[in-house]
Structures are given as structure tokens and as C-alpha cells.
């Protein structure tokens, strides 16, 4: 299947981008939006998004097939990892979920269409509407595709012209998603641009930021600081810095009956997108006192990761990444040979997966790509004390615990500053209504118009 050159990212690599090309593209997008997208209803946008998502879930959908066939080479993710990642993502795109998102963030499903009032507003004689940005620019991070696809979907809801700047080498899936939108509704596709360049091209980025009235950016603190420096004062900048996540398994999720299920869930979070997202766990903490000890949990997890490698292989990584994993394994091999407080398990003849058990409960950053720490902990308090250096940087904590215990853990985590708590096994599947790093992802895009009657 040959894709037409709709987007800048479709051009051959030797076609050099210039600031003039970007400015030109931005102005075309704005014109196209003005003549079509700005006049569409929220309902029609939700239907388009759900229709396209429905297509993506079909095995014979050409774009899906293309991702699964060419994706392993283009992205490094195995076919199975890509298929699971896409399925979990697009399954969220339902009328009900979009409706829930609109009500949650804007208080009313038609808030983007006209001045409306929900029952609470009726009572105080007021109404309001929300307007999306005319032109939305996204600076996307390269580690995994779904946050970029989500950003595009939100921009479709707000009927914004959108320019997505992908990290170098990371435009493959966003580009195919854009093509799928174009295929479903060419006039919508004409309000969207996908481009790829290595960050730091000041001239093109300046041209882009000049045109945008809202910029979303995902990346390291340094990347965000550099972008903040270049975005004009009048432009809204929504920066999403890097976050990290961990899992917590309470004693009551470790009955001999439950333990196996809990291990499978933990493995799902490690396998999903090869652990490369901000929502992927670096460490799984296992509370002392359950029927299964942390060390035993680690061993079971290793067995499960070995099984998953058969069905959902990690795929290839660069020599540099493999060298980092190999060197870090060397470090733990030395420790494990000399102390019972450290043990480790790993795939043979590959760096596909690694489990390190440590008695020490201090938080440890993983080198990812299915490299997980399992640590014993007396309770959540001890875990949080050991993670203090990362306070404010923790996005998601996946927990395995009974109902009552979960509630108590959630309260403790909330007080400490965690912004998302979910069941273990769901860490990489945030719902459409997820508040990104504690902020309303859709709500932050809009500008309100209040009408006091």
C-alpha cells in the first residue's frame, strides 16, 4: 500500500523542511479549518473518531495491517505488542466514553457547540460555552505513539487546525492515524499536518509557534524548558514533563489463589509498550506478610515474562540499549553472587526481560525495555519514604489489593502527590477521561465564554 503525500512526514527524507514550508502549511491548515472544521458539531466529531477507531480494531483494516507489518521495523515494537497497544487504545473510543469526557471536563456534552447550561448552572441563571484553539501545535515525545494519537483526537473534538511535530524516527504511527482520518473525512484530514524533525530546529519551531494559539509539548524537563523559551507570551503552552510509575501489591492480593493472577497483571504492565511509557512501572513493590514473599513473587514474575516473550516478544533494541541492559545486569549479577538480599532472573541469550529482586525498598529507576525491579516493603509508608526523591514526579501507581485496602492506599497515595491510581494490569491503559498528570487534558485546551442571564 502506497500512501499519498498528504503530510510533510510523507515526503522522502531528503526533502528538507524550511521555516517557509511550515508557515505555509500552518496557514493552509487554518484556512481549511475556517471553511470546514470550525463549523462541525461535537457529535459529528465524536462519530468520526469512533468510526475510525472501529476501523482500527478490524483485522483487515489497511492502516492497521500496515502498522502491524511495517511497525516492528519502524518502531522496534513487536507485532503483538503493537496489536495489543492499538487495541487497548482504540477500544476506549466509544460514544459513551467521549460523552463522559465532555461532561467531566466541560460540564456538558454540547459545551463546544453553543452556550448551554447544566442543571447546576440553570439554578444560578447562567450558561457557558467553551471554544477550542484555532490552531493547535503538538510537540510529541518519541517513546510511544498513543499519547500523540490522543492529543490529535482531543484537537479534533475542539475543531482545531493541528500541526503535530513528531520526534525524529517516531512519526510512523501518528502519520498512519492521520491518513486514516483523512481517509474517513478528507476535509478533516486537510486540517491536520504531521511532520518530523529532530528537536532544536529553532527556525522551523519558531515559525510553528508563531502561528499557534496553543502548544502542547511532551518531553524531558530540558526539552520543555527550551520550548517554553521559544513560545510567544500570547500562546498557551501545556507542558507534560516526564513522569514515572510503580506497582504496589498488598498482602491480601497474594493469597495462593490470587498470587498467580496478580503476577500476570504485573507482567501485562511491564510488557505493554515494552515498559517505555511514563505510566509503565519501574518497580513492583510486594508487601510483606502475604502468602507469597517478594522474592517468590519476583521468581513467578520472571516465569511469566518468559512466557510472554513467547507470545508477545519485546522485539529488537539498539546495541546501545542492549549494552545498557547488559551492563546493568552485570551490576546485579555481582550483587546477587555476594548477597541473598539481591537475586536476579533474565532471558537467556537476549536482553528481552530481566527481573531484579532487592530486599532494599528504595525506589530504583529501571532502564526499561522489560527490566523490572521487585522489592519487598513492610507497608506503603515505607515505599513512599524510599521514593521521596521522586515525589511530584510519580504519575501512576498500579495497585493489587482488596476493595477496602485499595481505598486506604489510594488516600495515602493521593496525599503524597500521586496523580493516578489504577488496578495493577491497567497501568498503560488510562481511560479516555484520564486527567493527564492531574490536569484536565481537554479542559486545558479551551477558553470559556460565560453568559450570566
Amino acid at each position: 500500500m502506497n500512501l499519498p503525500n498528504y503530510f510533510l512526514a510523507d515526503l522522502p527524507p531528503e526533502a528538507a523542511l524550511t521555516a517557509a514550508m511550515v508557515t505555509d502549511a500552518c496557514q493552509t491548515l487554518k484556512r481549511n479549518r475556517e471553511s470546514y472544521l470550525a463549523n462541525q458539531s461535537t457529535q459529528s466529531r465524536v462519530e468520526i473518531l469512533c468510526g475510525v477507531a472501529e476501523n482500527w480494531l478490524q483485522a483487515d483494516y489497511p492502516f492497521r495491517k500496515m502498522v502491524l507489518e511495517q511497525g516492528p521495523a519502524a518502531t522496534g515494537f513487536s507485532r503483538a505488542t503493537l496489536a495489543n497497544g492499538l487495541d487497548n487504545f482504540f477500544r476506549q473510543f466509544t460514544l459513551e466514553n467521549f460523552n463522559a469526557l465532555l461532561v467531566q471536563e466541560l460540564g456538558h456534552a454540547r459545551r463546544l457547540d453553543e452556550i448551554v447550561a447544566n442543571s447546576a448552572e440553570e439554578k444560578i441563571s447562567r450558561g457557558a460555552m467553551a471554544r477550542g484553539p484555532e490552531f493547535l501545535a503538538h510537540i510529541a515525545a518519541g517513546n510511544l505513539p498513543n499519547p500523540t494519537l490522543m492529543s490529535i483526537a482531543l484537537g479534533v473534538l475542539t475543531r482545531s487546525a493541528q500541526f503535530v511535530k513528531c520526534a525524529s524516527g517516531a512519526s510512523f504511527i501518528p502519520r498512519l492515524f492521520a491518513h486514516s482520518l483523512y481517509d474517513a473525512e478528507p476535509k478533516l484530514g486537510a486540517c491536520l499536518e504531521i511532520a518530523e524533525w529532530r528537536g532544536g530546529r529553532g527556525d522551523i519551531e519558531k515559525a510553528l509557534f508563531e502561528e499557534a494559539d496553543c502548544v502542547t509539548a511532551t518531553g524531558s524537563d530540558e526539552t520543555l524548558a527550551a520550548i517554553r523559551h521559544h513560545v510567544p507570551e500570547r500562546t498557551r503552552l501545556l507542558g507534560y514533563g516526564h513522569r514515572l510509575s510503580f506497582g504496589y501489591v498488598a498482602g491480601d492480593a497474594l493469597s495462593s489463589f490470587q498470587a498467580r493472577k496478580t503476577v500476570v497483571r504485573a507482567a501485562s504492565d511491564i510488557v505493554a509498550w515494552n515498559q517505555l511509557g511514563c505510566l509503565s512501572p519501574h518497580v513492583i513493590y510486594v508487601e510483606h506478610g502475604g502468602a507469597v514473599a517478594a522474592e517468590q513473587f519476583a521468581e513467578m514474575l520472571a516465569e511469566e515474562l518468559a512466557r510472554r516473550e513467547e507470545t508477545e516478544p519485546r522485539g529488537e533494541v539498539t546495541t546501545e540499549t542492549a549494552a545498557t541492559i547488559a551492563s546493568r545486569r552485570g551490576f546485579y549479577e555481582v550483587r546477587a553472587a555476594h548477597s541473598p538480599d539481591t537475586r536476579f532472573w533474565h532471558s537467556e541469550n537476549s536482553t528481552a526481560w530481566t527481573v531484579v529482586y532487592e530486599a532494599d525498598a528504595r525506589f530504583q529507576l529501571s532502564c526499561l525495555n522489560r527490566f523490572i525491579y521487585v522489592k519487598g516493603a513492610s507497608d506503603l509508608k515505607a515505599v513512599l519514604a524510599g521514593a521521596d526523591a521522586f515525589r511530584g514526579k510519580v504519575s501512576t501507581v498500579g495497585i493489587a489489593a482488596g476493595e477496602e485496602k485499595s481505598r486506604a492506599l489510594a488516600a495515602q497515595l493521593a496525599a503524597w502527590g500521586v496523580t493516578r491510581i489504577c488496578p495493577l494490569g491497567q497501568m498503560q491503559n488510562p481511560p479516555l477521561t484520564w486527567r493527564h498528570d492531574g490536569r484536565p487534558a481537554l479542559g486545558d485546551l479551551v477558553t470559556w465564554v460565560d453568559w450570566e442571564r
Binding site: 524531558s220 524537563d221 516526564h242 513522569r243 514515572l244 511514563c278 519501574h282 546495541t319 546501545e320 542492549a322 549494552a323 545498557t324 541492559i325 547488559a326 551492563s327 546493568r328 552485570g330 551490576f331 549479577e333 555481582v334 550483587r335 546477587a336 553472587a337 555476594h338 541469550n349 537476549s350 536482553t351 530504583q364 529507576l365 529501571s366 532502564c367 526499561l368 526523591a389 521522586f390 514526579k393
Partner: protein
């Protein structure tokens, strides 16, 4: 207990002396010569492995965890390589505490635990024999030295400074050749005035000069010369030996750029710039020039015949094919009292019987608060 190792150390010293004698032999490179050398190296390596397995407790545990003992090793390449991390975590030595008269630390970036390589007079003697035999093969003696590091008194745990000091003594050069000093924060910097004077003297006197330094000390010197708008033509026969990375101590330059600047500011041509690869965990060094320069003209590092490098796949641990990239693993017979097989975290490309350095694996030692990968 370590008397067996002491006896072995004298054998290694003899072996180094013999190899050094053969370095210029016209038979070198002949298949028969090479095969004989391989057999000899293998025999010594296996013997040393057995001794280290017996006398180095920390290493033995590591071998046992890998289920490798001297009984099931028949070739030197099967000898378990200790990760450099083991030099940080453990006392990887056969010396009892009261025999350790010297320790070399790795010069890692701030916040990292350094590697520790323990030495005694005995092990330093082998270290020096290995160093000098291979160095003399690459650089003819010169009395006029400039060393861009602080002297041993200011950097007692640096194997690099020790190396320069050994060469200085061997070349019978003045002790005033160390031009480096410690800055207030204990980082290394240069006494720029002395460096300038030393360079001036060399230019005036017409006597060739040999300059040693780390890559970052050369950048410091070149930046200084550029700032002062100074440019000199060191006398013909002058040489530069440069080693190591930057470790955030100066701006980092690609090798080719650094060498071009050295030629531009100091007048030393590329043919007279020697790069060294060494580490505190080893007792032998690799150089990238000499009569074994590759036919392609690219400069590849080579260890002396008493040490061997393998480039292994980080995925499988097996040696990669020629031209492929992997992790550098070194088998150094001169490491008699520590471990002969060392697994580095350096990436290199296999080039014939040498290698090309690529860089270091990122953040392999888990440490503190860095959100690089989240």
C-alpha cells in the same frame, strides 16, 4: 597463600619481556608464529584463571554463580569476565588488606562509586613492565615532556597519573613536567602560564616535545591558546598522547576535531598523535597507532600480545563478527593479583584483531535522581 600468584607474576614478567622482544620481529604476523602465541597465551590465561579462582574470593563467588570453574574452562575466551561494576561493589583482589599499598580509582562522573583496583609493589612491578614494554613500542624516548595532569602527589589514586609518572621516570625527564593542578573543587585544571612557558621553550629550543593528557585537558589547553590567540609550531618529532573522555569537565569534541585543533594550535600532525585506551581496572593499555595500522587508514586500538580484547554482543555475550558493535571485554595477563578477565561498559566495533571505540553504555550503574528514561 598468594605466593603461587607471586611465582606466576614472575612468569608473566618474563612473558612480557619475550613478547616485547618479538614485537619488532619479522616473524610476527606469520600464521605459525601467531598460532604458537595463541597456545602460549591460552596456557598462561588458564593457569592464571585457576590461581585467581583459588585466591580471589570475591571473584570465585562470581564464577560459582555462573557455574564456571577451572575444570570446565578450556579456552581463555571462556574465562568469566568480571563486570567493572564488581570493582565498585567488591574488593576484587587476591591481596590481604595488609599487602595493599596502593589503590587506583576510576574517574567516574560525580555521584558514582569509583572502581577500586588494589595494588602492591609486586603488582605495580608487573603493571609497569606491561606499560613500558607496549608504550616504548609506540613512542621513542624523549626527555622533553609536558604532562597535562596533576602530579601523583595531588592525584595519588589515579592510575593514569601513575602511568605518566612511570613513563616520565623511564624517560628520565624532569619532575617538573606535570602542568595540571587541582581546582578549588578538586577537579583537574591546568597551570596555563606554566603550560604556555613549556610550549614556548620547546618552540625556542627546537627540541621535540612529548605531550600527555586527557582529552579534556587538551581542550582546556586549546581553548586557552585560542583565547590568547596563540599558535605554535612544535619542533618536528614532537608527539601527543591523548586519552579518556570528557566526563563533563570541558566541552566535548569529536576525536577528529580535537586532533585537527591540536595540529592547528601545536603543529603536531595526526601521524604523531597517539590515542590510548586504558582503565584503572586493567594493567595493560591499548593504543591506536603503530606499525599495525589498518589498511583502511582508520585508527584502531590494539592491546599488547599479553592482553586480548573481544567485542561481545550485549544480547548474547558471544563475540560479534568483524565490523559489528558490541561491548569490549578484555583479558589481561598483567592483571595477576586482581582478575584477568574484565567486562567493560564500553561499546566498540570489532576491527580485525583490534577495535574502534564507540562510547560508553548509558547510565548502566543505577543511581540517584535522574529522569532520563521515564
Amino acid at each position: 597463600m598468594w605466593s603461587h600468584l607471586s611465582i606466576f607474576a614472575t612468569r608473566v614478567a618474563d612473558y612480557i619481556a619475550i613478547c616485547a622482544g618479538d614485537l619488532s620481529s619479522e616473524h610476527r604476523g606469520h600464521p605459525e608464529f601467531q598460532s604458537h602465541a595463541d597456545i602460549e597465551f591460552n596456557g598462561l590465561a588458564l593457569m592464571l584463571f585457576t590461581l585467581q579462582f583459588d585466591h580471589n574470593r570475591a571473584y570465585r563467588k562470581l564464577c560459582e554463580a555462573r557455574k564456571i570453574t577451572p575444570e570446565n574452562v578450556t579456552h581463555w575466551s571462556q574465562i568469566p569476565a568480571a563486570p567493572t561494576a564488581a570493582f565498585k561493589e567488591l574488593e576484587l583482589t587476591s591481596f590481604p588488606a595488609d599487602k595493599r599499598t596502593q589503590v587506583f580509582h576510576s574517574s567516574g562522573t560525580t555521584g558514582q562509586t569509583p572502581s577500586r583496583h588494589f595494588h602492591s609493589n609486586e603488582s605495580l612491578a608487573i603493571y609497569e613492565a606491561s606499560l613500558l614494554a607496549w608504550f616504548r613500542f609506540h613512542v621513542p624516548p624523549q626527555k622533553n615532556l609536558a604532562i597535562l595532569t596533576p602530579p601523583s602527589s595531588a592525584a595519588p589514586n589515579s592510575s593514569l597519573v601513575h602511568m605518566f609518572e612511570v613513563i616520565r621516570r623511564d624517560f628520565a625527564a624532569s619532575a617538573n613536567t606535570f602542568l595540571g593542578i587541582l581546582a578549588a573543587d578538586h577537579s583537574w585544571t591546568l597551570n596555563f602560564e606554566s603550560a604556555r612557558a613549556a610550549l614556548n621553550d620547546a618552540v625556542q629550543s627546537g627540541q621535540p616535545m612529548l605531550i600527555f593528557g586527557t582529552a579534556f585537558s587538551f581542550v582546556q589547553l586549546l581553548d586557552y591558546l585560542a583565547e590568547k590567540n596563540l599558535r605554535g609550531q612544535l619542533p618536528p618529532g614532537s608527539r601527543v598522547m591523548e586519552t579518556g573522555g570528557y566526563k563533563n569537565r570541558s566541552r566535548a569534541l569529536p576525536k577528529s576535531e580535537l586532533h585537527a585543533l591540536i595540529t592547528d594550535r601545536l603543529g603536531v600532525p595526526a601521524s604523531h598523535i597517539l590515542c590510548e585506551y586504558g582503565m584503572s581496572e586493567l594493567s595493560s593499555q591499548a593504543y591506536d597507532l603503530g606499525n599495525r595500522q589498518s589498511t583502511s587508514g582508520n585508527r584502531h586500538f590494539h592491546f599488547p600480545p599479553w592482553a586480548r580484547a573481544q567485542i561481545v554482543s550485549p544480547e548474547t555475550g558471544r563475540e560479534v563478527r568483524d565490523g559489528e558493535t558490541g561491548l569490549l571485554r578484555i583479558f589481561d595477563l598483567a592483571n595477576v593479583f586482581s582478575v584477568l578477565a574484565v567486562q567493560t561498559e564500553d561499546l566498540a566495533i570489532r576491527r580485525g584483531d583490534g577495535f574502534e571505540l564507540v562510547g560508553r553504555a548509558e547510565q548502566s550503574e543505577p543511581r540517584g535522581c535522574s529522569l532520563m528514561t521515564a
